[in-house]
Symmetry: C2
Subunit: 224 residues, 2 copies
Amino acid sequence: MKDGPDIARIAALIGDPGRANMLAAMMSGKALTARELAGEAGVSSQTASGHLQNLESGGLITRERQGRHHYFRLADADVAGLLETLMGLAAKKGQLRTRTGPRDAELRHARVCYNHLAGDMGVALFDTLLAQGVLKAEGDELHLTELGEAQMRALGISIDQKSRAPMCRECLDWSERRSHLAGRLGRGILDHIYAQGWASRVPDTRIVRFSKTGEASFKAAFGL
Amino acid sequence: MKDGPDIARIAALIGDPGRANMLAAMMSGKALTARELAGEAGVSSQTASGHLQNLESGGLITRERQGRHHYFRLADADVAGLLETLMGLAAKKGQLRTRTGPRDAELRHARVCYNHLAGDMGVALFDTLLAQGVLKAEGDELHLTELGEAQMRALGISIDQKSRAPMCRECLDWSERRSHLAGRLGRGILDHIYAQGWASRVPDTRIVRFSKTGEASFKAAFGL
DNA sequence: CATACAGTTCGCTGGAGCCCGAACCATGGA
DNA sequence: TCCATGGTTCGGGCTCCAGCGAACTGTATG
């Protein structure tokens, strides 16, 4: 009826607690099955199936069939960005759900956001890369400089060249309310962190847990 | 139940078509009365009253009483940013409501977003300011350089010094899918455009209509 | 004072949609 | 072939909430 695109439809999709929990779970970037998502949302698998259909036809998630399993993930980084923005706002307003338990502290320190590193560590990394001239901001575009390209190659970080996703992108951090690095480079760096054994995912959470030596090695490698 | 802040509550508030239309109307930055918003949403004033209470207690809008009128506006720029992000995503997905009439063309060219300039012109301005070194990006922070400060002073642009809002901020443009300038500086520039008579608001819309000479003067002044 | 208008509160109705039980398809393995 | 398992479809119950009519508070204006 009014101008602009249909904002209510998308918001309504996120507005149900069950679906919101599913989406939050998919922020890990991992592809999850319908059953896992049902558990995450605390509903039966029939209900979950319905929700997932809605989310899919709304364009927020995509489905991948493999044998009798259906894997779901967020449709693209834009959706992930929207969710992080929402989380940022929700965290700033209603202090409701911010009982900061020990687990939350870990979440704020280092967690996975879609497929890249977020939290304290993510923000610190991003700041350092900019300060070192590895990244350069032009307008709202982020570029990897030649120096940066050389450095990444020296570290042995492989970057998915085929994908048409942007190489670098900013992503707002809901706990820090600052930006961290997303895009193909962000993904490559996180993969590298896993490959080097510096850190690993805590199962069933978005927490990335660094070992003591791993954190030191990571900081040394990137000059934090 | 799950980690992170309560994202569903906020999304549900935006998820009702009536409330979404009200919020979209408030994106103009103007303070609107309950009746105007009821008309915008196409509901009775009783219903609107209820919606506005919900939005207020959810922290998305604020209320200002003046005599027998109640003026409503978006709570802060973060909320406006969230709405723009949502519009951007909605525009990219469902092509549903994107029948591009003549009015839409004007909207895409120059419109007001909360209290600053968006659309073609907003994006072009932002790019130019960065290229000229008036603005500088550090991390996710935008700074006004000394050169920029001098230039703004030379143009006679006054900036609200008291406010604690950030001086410069990026804001994603839903029609261009690029950033434009927000924050106190963004507001100051738009006010300047009005003051110089370069452009004026089309009543009851978000359109900013430049006169032919006004657009030329604007481009000359900022070196577009 | 009376009148007009902005906004809210109350109570009710109707419909949308969340949810699950049960039954139904599809795949994979014995 | 039969069973186990992941996922979907169908039907009905139930709750929530948007919407409005009617009545009320509060502020202007004559």
